[in-house]
Symmetry: C2
Subunit: 666 residues, 2 copies
């Protein structure tokens, strides 16, 4: 695949018991998606303008300018090659560097689409599509994040001039965090409290121009800048997350996004007939893409750690032979293979979420809101679960690489630094779990009334059975039966939900009860979300899957995914008596045996992600396994090695050695 030279992992690739090319198609989603991503990934990888191995040594200014350069180059290539929307998106994905374009395409345009009237869309979208304006999404403030209803920025209607006056009344009302805001965006969708006739109508979106289209200077009344360095080197520092203050900035009335709520010329607030629930549709969409991204980020980390674990040898040499590959240690397997399985699991649940989103969209168009709360809770929960596991999983992959994982050249430090905010943005993961818990408690509370739970909560409709059932497992192989595994996970989630609902009912004030028990409630949400992932993985492997041995490998990964969770959350399963300690021990035996089965296929399973060395950005994860010479080569490129004797020797080292500092002691 990559270049020429020796393939140090060839012996590993020979061990594979399945058709790797077919697995690539499964991972990509379809043959079309596979060919598309393969083509665009190579296009990016082969273009020197997109190199990214130098990010760590660039200063903040150089780094940022470099990102601007890449964005312009990408835009140019998209035009030159006449790429379709789909191809352009894929290209931005493989450029693999946070940039203002993410927010322009991913938040600014969708906000106008979702919240703008038809006229507003007709006016603004063509400008945005052609990038004649560049936009960002300015919601969060210095003092206000998760609680959007608490935002302080005001948009006061002035009937005299038919304008809104956008204002930052306090320091804490400064907009803070929006990506692309600090240095690039000409426009923003700004969220502010709508004040009409002295009355506060809550938070709404407004299109506000920030900078002159002539010379890029901030418009009068606008103070804007970058909020400074973030986690790590390279990573998210390519992005100009910004701060923004308004000193009574005036915008025309028609720049309030009025799809749902309108302000008339006379200053009347009129609710349109478009239902408010529409915004949940957008959230379902955005969170589905985050789940997809989780599978990409985790699979990158797993790919690096798996390949390096096959290259790295440590201990166990017999009679001068080579040492044991660390991937052969059961501790290494028990840390690595569940993450490999999770990457696949998240990929498939993400794929299923796209179907869910299509379904939601269709229903919304038909004014059917019945499944929306469930779909919303489901995506909120899966966003939380998959991003948390991915963030921790990347760091675990780094540890799996021992000392060398700590080198920037391993790719893992930057992957971690760039990934972790996914646990915070688009909903703090804990806040999201509590939302899921609210939905679950409501669902349980409504069971007696006969209301049938839908979609991913349908199992709660069988709660009587699930409270009483006993697992049939008698030997380790029973844990390879889909129905057995599914029932254990359903019983656990159902029993945890019911137990929490009962505990809540003991409080006279339900809100107090919810607050007091919130940590336990969040655990029930996790159990529910894990059940979703397990059940979607099982559904996937029950489909027809072509390719020699492909389905077999996916089954193995599916059971690893389920049984490792069972082991990790054993307390849940045992305290609710869903399984016995003996059955738990059999599950653990089965898990060990599954690790042995996946072992010979491990390299091929990460090859199936079809990542180029450019995209991986890791010397440890190189396709050809030629790690040591390349690490050695790379070291000498560090600026510190520009001179043999370091800058500072004469001022600071020599005086110590020559006792010129200690003389003052005498």
């Amino acid at each position: 695949m990559e270049g020429v030279g020796v393939d140090h992992l060839a012996h590993e690739r020979k061990k594979a018991e399945f058709d790797v090319e077919e697995m690539k198609v499964v991972w990509a989603g379809s043959r079309h998606d596979y060919e598309l991503s393969d083509r665009i990934a190579r296009l990016v990888a082969s273009d020197p303008a997109f190199r990214k191995d130098n990010r760590a040594t660039l200063s903040r200014k150089e780094l940022f300018k470099n990102t601007l350069r890449k964005a312009a180059h990408a835009w140019k290539r998209i035009a030159e090659l006449r790429l379709s929307e789909e191809e352009a998106k894929e290209l931005r994905f493989y450029v693999d560097e946070p940039a203002f374009t993410d927010l322009h395409w991913g938040m600014f345009i969708p906000a106008i689409k979702g919240q703008g009237t038809d006229e507003q869309q007709q006016k603004w979208l063509p400008l945005a599509y052609k990038m004649q304006i560049i936009g960002c999404y300015a919601q969060t403030e210095l003092g206000h994040g998760s609680n959007v209803q608490g935002l302080e920025t005001t948009a006061t209607f002035d009937p005299q001039t038919d304008e809104f006056v956008i204002h930052s009344p306090t320091l804490t009302s400064s907009k803070w965090w929006p990506g692309g805001l600090g240095k690039v965006s000409t426009h923003a969708v700004v969220y502010a409290r709508l004040i009409v006739n002295g009355k506060d109508h809550g938070v709404n979106g407004f299109i506000v121009q920030l900078r002159s289209l002539d010379d890029h200077m901030p418009l009068p009344g606008i103070t804007v800048g970058d909020i400074g360095m973030k986690f790590g080197s390279g990573a998210y520092n390519t992005m100009d997350n910004g701060v923004l203050r308004f000193d009574n900035v005036r915008i025309p009335r028609d720049q309030m996004l009025m799809r749902v709520l309108q302000v008339t010329r006379e200053g009347k607030c009129v609710q349109s007939d478009v239902p408010r629930q529409l915004i949940y549709g957008t959230m379902v969409y955005v969170r589905q893409t985050i789940v997809e991204d989780a599978s990409y980020a985790l699979s990158k980390a797993v790919c690096i750690a798996t390949r390096y674990s096959a290259v790295r040898r440590q201990f166990g040499s017999q009679a001068g032979g080579s040492e044991t590959q660390v991937i052969d240690y059961k501790t290494q397997q028990s840390r690595l293979f569940p993450l490999l399985a999770s990457a696949y699991a998240f990929r498939f649940v993400g794929e299923w979420l796209t179907l869910l989103y299509e379904d939601v969209t269709k229903r919304l168009a038909a004014n059917d809101f019945s499944t929306l709360p469930e779909a919303h809770a489901c995506t909120a929960g899966l966003k939380s679960l998959t991003t948390s596991i991915t963030a921790d999983g990347i760091e675990e992959c780094r540890k799996l690489c021992g000392g060398h994982g700590y080198l920037h050249a391993s790719g893992l430090p930057e992957l971690f630094a760039v990934y972790i905010p996914a646990c915070t943005y688009e909903g703090d993961n804990v806040v999201l779990l509590l939302q899921v818990a609210r939905f679950l408690m409501k669902t349980v509370a409504q069971l007696p009334s006969g209301k049938k739970p839908v979609g991913t909560t349908a199992y709660l409709g069988r709660v009587q059975y699930l409270l009483e059932c006993k697992s049939d497992v008698q030997n380790a192989d029973d844990w390879l039966k889909p129905a057995v595994v599914l029932e254990a996970f359903e019983a656990r989630a159902a029993r945890m939900c019911v137990a929490r609902a009962q505990a809540l009912s003991k409080f006279s004030n339900p809100e107090e009860g919810f607050a007091e028990l919130s940590a336990d409630l969040a655990e029930a949400s996790v159990a529910h979300c894990q059940l979703i992932v397990v059940s979607k993985f099982i559904e996937k492997v029950q489909q027809d899957i072509p390719g020699n041995g492909v389905k077999k490998q996916l089954e193995i990964l599916c059971y690893i995914y389920a049984l490792h969770i069972l082991h990790k959350h054993l307390g849940d399963f045992l305290s609710t008596a869903c399984i016995t300690p003996k059955q738990a021990s059999l599950a653990n035996d089965q898990l060990r045996s599954l690790y042995s089965k996946v072992r010979p296929n491990a390299i091929a399973l990460v090859d199936s992600f079809n990542y180029t060395d450019h995209f991986l950005g890791s010397i440890l994860g190189r396709y050809d396994g030629n790690v040591y010479p390349k690490l050695y080569e790379e070291a000498w490129k560090d600026p510190l090695n520009d001179s043999v004797v370091p800058d500072g020797y004469h001022e600071y080292i020599r005086p110590i050695l020559k006792q010129q500092l200690r003389n003052s002691r005498l």
Copy 2:
């Protein structure tokens, strides 16, 4: 404490139910230690030469030079102020920046002390103490880390010239990682295979001069440089971790460290009467300091997250009042307070380890090696446990700060990046757990022979009782009885050890069994180590502790520590039937109530660490809680804000906006 101005956390400080000044003494270890650290911390904080808030924006070269400058300044101040050894060490600690001096004082000198003969010590130590030479510790190689016996560098005795020839036979034998090696050290203790008369005598240490004392140029045959960027910005990039290759470099015979093994003029290898076990003494010492450092790092993170959680408000405002402090959310408490308790727990177990080390040293002097294996296993296990929890805990603290935790200015990104290698160096944490497991299995295997387990394994002597006992807990308050908690932890650890030993005995080949079950064995080690921490915390709170309310707070933290582990590892406790699900649920109720008790004392409990704002290095963790104005101020200092219109606008942004790139499409 810090400066003037308003104290935004004054209302929190008023809530404290204990004497903070007395708690500071407890945390420091003694009044002497408190006064010492307080004085030196202020000395460093008030010296502008030691500022560290600019690390993230310095280029690698500037950063490194800056560290050299600080090291020289520190050395100068130590001389000017005639600081004692103890004070000098404290000063380096509060300068709080990885530097070559860490390895010189922490590894090079101890290696010579531990492995050098009396004559060697007399020759080299005075030079090192005065820093007329600067040394590092060169063990790890590009291809060899954990398995020290696998090192490839050779030291071949040449009887003709009475020298050793140090050589790097392969690329993978290049020394790789040693701190201080890349650019600074004049000398190194190099570990190499001793070859005498063609026979390999295993790995030994050698003092090798690397650079000229005249002009700092590498000596002939030596290739040396920096290995490049590591995780994060600032952080460990202040250190010149290095690469080193030898091309037949000759050193005099008397530069082999010969305390244990000697090579005579004639080329005979003679074992001295100094027992090999001595090296374990050094390992006990080094790992004890790592446990101590874990408590410092974790307490820093907890201090930042706790203060900010009291400043940060989100949701729950009633009728225009201010929102709820996020520290009042039970989910926040259930994530934060166990880490607060862990910081104290690690502090006390670290304190106890210093006593253990004193005991070991005394016994070694008296040729009593009986407790050494137990002491060694104990420190290995505690190093693994405390560093793993601390690494994860820092990241959890960052997440607890929401979006702002992701800013470099929060201090948490750099704290994480600089801390995490502690999980890898001085023994990979998983490899260490497996060593502990070996010791535990041996201990269990020897029980039938009547051999009494000592020290931290003494409880295994009561294994019969522990296999049968049943927990007496009947209500939540029973979980506040030391004996009850201790018995549950002892029973869990004992039962896990015995179960693993039984599983092992089913294998005909014990090594195969150990390999196959290693993941489960590592879990038994964790259970054992957690028991040690719990028992030492309980011992601590059973002592006389002066100060109003101090003991009470420590008791609360002690039970939080124990019960949160019980909750997290519930599967262990239930599968071994140490407690019932009902008792587990009572423990959880108790835990929630303990969180409420610690809540009003939380700020005072982190104030008790007595950290200056300089040492904390975090705007979110500021003593005065004046977070928002300072974040705002800080943002404008980023180099990107040097100009309003960013560098790159004309080349890369304007052409996009003006459609000059898309023209090529037509």
